[in-house]
């Protein structure tokens, strides 16, 4: 309540996006100005700042601001996510890709949820694979990473506010979560199926650190990188995948001009990029 959207001026936007780039390597296009306004206005209201200039000065000069820079970066870079977001791709993995791997004689599967944010994506995968009975048919390992140590800690706790369930059927919530005051705790049988770690997708050693995977999910992340970084990350994914291997990106993340190594499969409600055998 009483949280007005604070409009950002061009010079304020330019300075703030420079600050964000220096601290996270994430670029904000001119057309994403509204995104900063939407994500930071509440914080400005909480702090009593009426303009972004005031907030930038607070970031730069208040000696008691207790990690505000990190908080701001988190606010603008953490993907707004929720359980079962863009479900068709998850369903494609569970109903098509994994059954095909099983049919081909594969008995184990390693999945990487890259840039997992607060963990909704890897836990959703674990829940859907449980529903489909896949854990009884093959050994499945889910690794989940994010650059931000705070969100990784959050994900490890597995304690979610209700808005993580926008778009989640009530029955699903009842089966896999335990209500606790205003929060919902993920049940241990799902929590134990995901291993979380911090990891920077643009770092030089991430590929070697993570090992080989059969499936990689990295959705709505590449859009924040410049072309050079995108190419680097997509190449790293290619090298990290077994052959065959499957890469699921966000629905607006077309990499056809960055690399021709992947074969693109359009399954109607989404795309999958395949590394051929």
């Amino acid at each position: 309540m009483l949280n007005n959207i604070v409009k950002i001026r061009n010079d304020e936007f330019n300075e703030l996006r420079d600050i964000i780039y220096k601290n996270s390597a994430i670029t904000f296009m001119e057309s994403k100005k509204y995104l900063l306004e939407n994500r930071l206005s509440k914080r400005l209201n909480e702090l009593g700042h009426k303009t972004y200039k005031d907030y930038i000065n607070y970031l730069k000069y208040d000696k008691d601001n207790k990690g505000e820079m990190e908080r701001m970066i988190n606010l603008v870079t953490i993907n707004e996510t929720y359980f079962l977001r863009e479900r068709p791709q998850m369903d494609h993995l569970v109903k098509t890709t994994l059954p095909e791997m099983l049919a081909a004689g594969k008995k184990q599967c390693r999945i990487w949820s890259a840039a997992c944010s607060t963990g909704e994506e890897p836990y959703s995968l674990a829940m859907l694979m449980t529903e489909a009975g896949l854990y009884n048919k093959m050994k499945i390992e889910i690794m989940a990473t994010d650059i931000n140590s705070d969100v990784v800690e959050f994900a490890k706790k597995g304690e979610y506010r209700s808005m993580s369930f926008r778009g989640t059927p009530e029955q699903f919530t009842k089966t896999y979560f335990t209500p606790d005051k205003t929060n919902f705790l993920i049940k241990p049988e799902i929590k134990d199926k995901v291993r979380f770690n911090t990891g920077n997708l643009t770092g030089p050693t991430i590929g070697a650190q993570m090992g080989k995977f059969d499936v990689i999910f990295c959705r709505n992340v590449l859009i924040y990188f410049d072309a050079e970084t995108k190419t680097k990350v997509v190449t790293m994914f290619y090298n990290a995948l077994n052959a065959p291997g499957y890469l699921y990106l966000g629905h607006s993340e077309n990499i056809s001009k960055l690399t021709d190594k992947f074969k693109v499969i359009n399954f109607g409600s989404g795309l999958m990029h395949t590394k051929a055998k």
Binding site: M1, L2, D11, S31, K60, S162, R166, A227
Partner: protein, 474 residues
Amino acid sequence: MNISISTNNGRAVITVSEDAAHDDYAKIAPAVEQAGQLSEICLDLKGMFYITSAQIAELVAVAKLGNSKKTPVVLLNVNPGVYESLELANLLGQFAFRQDYSCYTLAELIDMFNNPENASDVSDYFVSHYTGDVKKALTANIQSLDFDNPIVQEYSLITIGRAYDDAAIDNIRNCLNSQYPNVVHSTILVLGWLGDMSSKEKIYSFLTSNTIELADAAGASIALLSDDDDTAKLAKLAESGSNTLRMIIAGILALINGNEAFAVLSAMFAKEKDDEVRKMLTRYLSYFNKPEATDTLIKLLDDSSKAVQEAAAAGLERTGLRGHEDVVLKKVAVGGMISYFAVKALGKTCSDASATALIGLYDKIEPITKLAVLEALGHCSGDTVKDFLLKRLSDQNEDIRKEALSSLGKQFKGVAAAEAEKMIRGDASWQVRYQALEILEEIRPANFAAILKDIKQKDDNRYIQEKVSELLGM
């Protein structure tokens, strides 16, 4: 077809696909010539995710065509990959950029509700283009609780509510029974916007929901639906409620904003023990335009809690000081954000006496408060202030120089123009140079065009380049 061209109301819209080649682009020039006088040439790039250097050259050719006809060229719906390529080619200044949802079909737009980054914008677009087809499609999305996409249902509801369309009120009310919290959340808000008094009691039941977002939405809607009886009802609820509920109730009272609401909020504050809640109550007190609110905030500047002191100082910027300048001035030397907000509150009506006092304190205060002082001096006149600001233009800190220049620009335009010209040519910080450019833009000295052309050639900062191009109409 890789390119399609249409003209409407003197505007040409050229839709370009990713596969468009030279032969396709060659169709643009004759079509533009044939169209006669145009207000703008728009290239819709929604279907283009990446762009080759050959295609960039084609876009530049269209920019040149527009330039020769003195018609602006606007790139519509540019995807990030294309934008980055244009940025790398240093071509952002050649085009205007705009998101234009009229280029999309109704189904494509509804699908965009699924993307949190676009959803609000698409909803805005629908509200301003609320045709019969839009109404029909959105209403269809809220007719059943079994609708399979709760995100689309949420934004359909929000859009219907923002268009104040109550034709489907029964369906909207029914959405309060949805199994999806996001759908219930938007339904509560929409029923408040539509003034649906018959839902008020049910909305009250969400105030105590374990789902904080639902309780918060219920608070906002109850405020909109409130009448004389609600203040007393809220006061009673506050007595037995949790910390969260008390903060929500305080927010409702601030929105109701009447005399009774102020009395209840003041009574709540008097009884409140929890510092986090007291901080929020202090914030909400500042929403009342009443001398009593200012008086309370002034007293709270000496509260035992630092967070409450800061909230009170920030609140005073909103309420105004109403004769309490001297008390607030004493807080400037205290340090921390209290000093900062005290200066902010003083800044709105900075008197000569306050200006002199702030200048006197300047060397003893922290950098963030120094910046607030420089901003406050932008509301003051007199040679002392002018000289003080001029001296700060050679400060080592770029933000100090920028703020001092900005304040000079507000009160001392003659001096500011000369200083701005010096700084745009010689300051090491792009932020200071950008500020100088804005001042020159406002004052428009006789040699403004010459300065711009010179800067265009010499300054390699992209933000300065973009601004200069915009000012030169390039």
